[in-house]
């Protein structure tokens, strides 16, 4: 059974009692909440994830609850307890899912040091992986989402998870947080995409989450070998341009875009070295998403893609 098929009662019971277990692939999470409406949002964006038992080990355990205090009567808020800590100030109650998702990402970034975590999207098609590393604001999530709704398997958006011993990319399958104009762009590109509610006026503007599709969820335990590293850069009205980047420069950029490169030290250095050695590296400037998708597709269609 999938989470999208749970009845209101079954979903509510899990969220209030044993927890809603979420298998992201490289990590496992568990969610508790008694906030009205949040369960329905979770059911939408995690629709294709399997229903699993709420006991056992979880990398992150998060609880969203109604904030206490007099404020709750005129401007209700919710707060997040993640792994026993309250990392953020309360959010308006209407922004419960963004709070939960950001909190889980925050915890995963702190916890998951078994693997190298890059700030990167990862997609795969026909067995060829593409890593899309970028700093926030560069259009990474939009491009990753666009590829995911255009026939590519989604492995991750926020975390490019690289296994240390062989530099394979592991799925860390989470909903993609789309912001502002990107929400409409993805909705128009794929009207039947699994988009959650639009949350207005969050700290990052309007946010909606793209739920991973069924095939990506089914393959959440299947690693991908990246053959291309593409650093995306969105600029309004920019021409689509794909430029090669020297591998050493790409290495340095990856290290900067990592959550835990400095923590892992020599193991991270070796993993990035292995990853870069088998990849062609590019910078992709784009202003037109359809052209950007076509450019990535064209890369993947090359008969001998891959590095040394």
């Amino acid at each position: 059974m999938r989470i999208g098929e749970l009845s209101d009662e079954a979903l509510g019971t899990r969220l209030r009692a044993e927890g809603l277990a979420l298998d992201f692939g490289a990590a496992h999470g568990r969610v508790f909440t008694d906030v009205p409406g949040l369960g329905e949002s979770l059911r939408r964006v995690y629709a294709h994830f399997p229903v699993e038992r709420g006991d056992g080990f979880f990398d992150v355990t998060a609880r969203v609850r109604r904030a206490r205090g007099a404020r709750r009567f005129f401007r209700p808020q919710v707060e997040l307890v993640v792994d026993g800590r309250v990392p953020f100030e309360p959010f308006p109650a209407a922004n419960d899912l963004p709070l939960l998702e950001w909190g889980m990402n925050w915890s995963l970034a702190e916890r998951c040091n078994t693997h190298l975590l890059l700030h990167a999207g990862v997609v795969e098609r026909s067995g060829v992986g593409v890593l899309l590393p970028a700093l926030p604001g560069s259009g990474k999530s939009t491009l990753t989402a666009a590829l995911a709704v255009s026939g590519h398997r989604l492995l991750s958006d926020e975390f490019g998870v690289v296994r240390l011993d062989d530099a394979a990319c592991l799925p860390m399958l989470r909903p993609i947080a789309l912001k502002n104009e990107s929400i409409g762009v993805i909705a128009r590109l794929r009207p039947d995409a699994t988009l959650g509610p639009v949350y207005r006026g969050t700290r990052k503007g309007d946010v909606a989450h793209l739920g991973p599709d069924a095939e990506s969820v089914a393959k959440r335990d299947v690693a991908a070998i990246a053959r291309f590293i593409v650093f995306p850069r969105y600029e309004k009205d920019a021409a689509t341009e794909l430029e090669p980047i020297a591998r050493a420069r790409a290495f340095a950029k990856l290290a900067v875009n990592s959550f835990n490169y400095e923590v892992l030290g020599p193991a991270a250095f070796d993993a990035v070295g292995r990853l870069i050695a088998r990849c062609e590296c590019y910078r992709l400037s784009y202003g037109n998403l359809v052209e950007a998708i076509a450019t990535v597709d064209d890369l993947l269609s090359r008969p001998s893609g891959g590095g040394a």
């Binding site: 591998r247 050493a248 420069r249 290495f251 340095a252 400095e262 020599p266 070796d270 870069i276």
Partner: protein, 100 residues
């Protein structure tokens, strides 16, 4: 005239250092600081020369450019040796420092 008797240079941690070459550049992991440095071709060749065996500045110049290297080459190598020392990748050998 090169000072062949000047201090000799060596790697600070030859067993721990990691060097990964890509085309004409290299990434170097310093096992002491856990920092990664991007080196250009000349800096990498300087590091390689010192890694092969402890060398004086003149020895590094000779290894990279031959015995008839121009003064500008010596100045360049001196600068790279100083930069690699500042990154704690290479150091002067103590006995030679005492001989200065």
């Amino acid at each position: 005239m090169h000072d062949a008797a000047g201090p000799r240079w060596r790697l600070v941690d030859p067993s721990g250092i990691r060097i990964r070459r890509f085309d004409d550049e290299a990434l170097v992991f310093n096992p002491l600081t856990w920092e990664t440095h991007l080196l250009n071709d000349v800096a990498t060749r300087v590091l390689d020369a010192v890694a092969e065996e402890p060398r004086t500045e003149a020895g590094v110049v000779a290894e990279l450019y031959g015995d008839d290297a121009a003064e500008s080459a010596r100045v360049q190598i001196a600068r790279f040796l100083a930069e690699l020392e500042a990154l704690a990748l290479i150091e002067r050998i103590g006995e030679d420092r005492r001989a200065q």
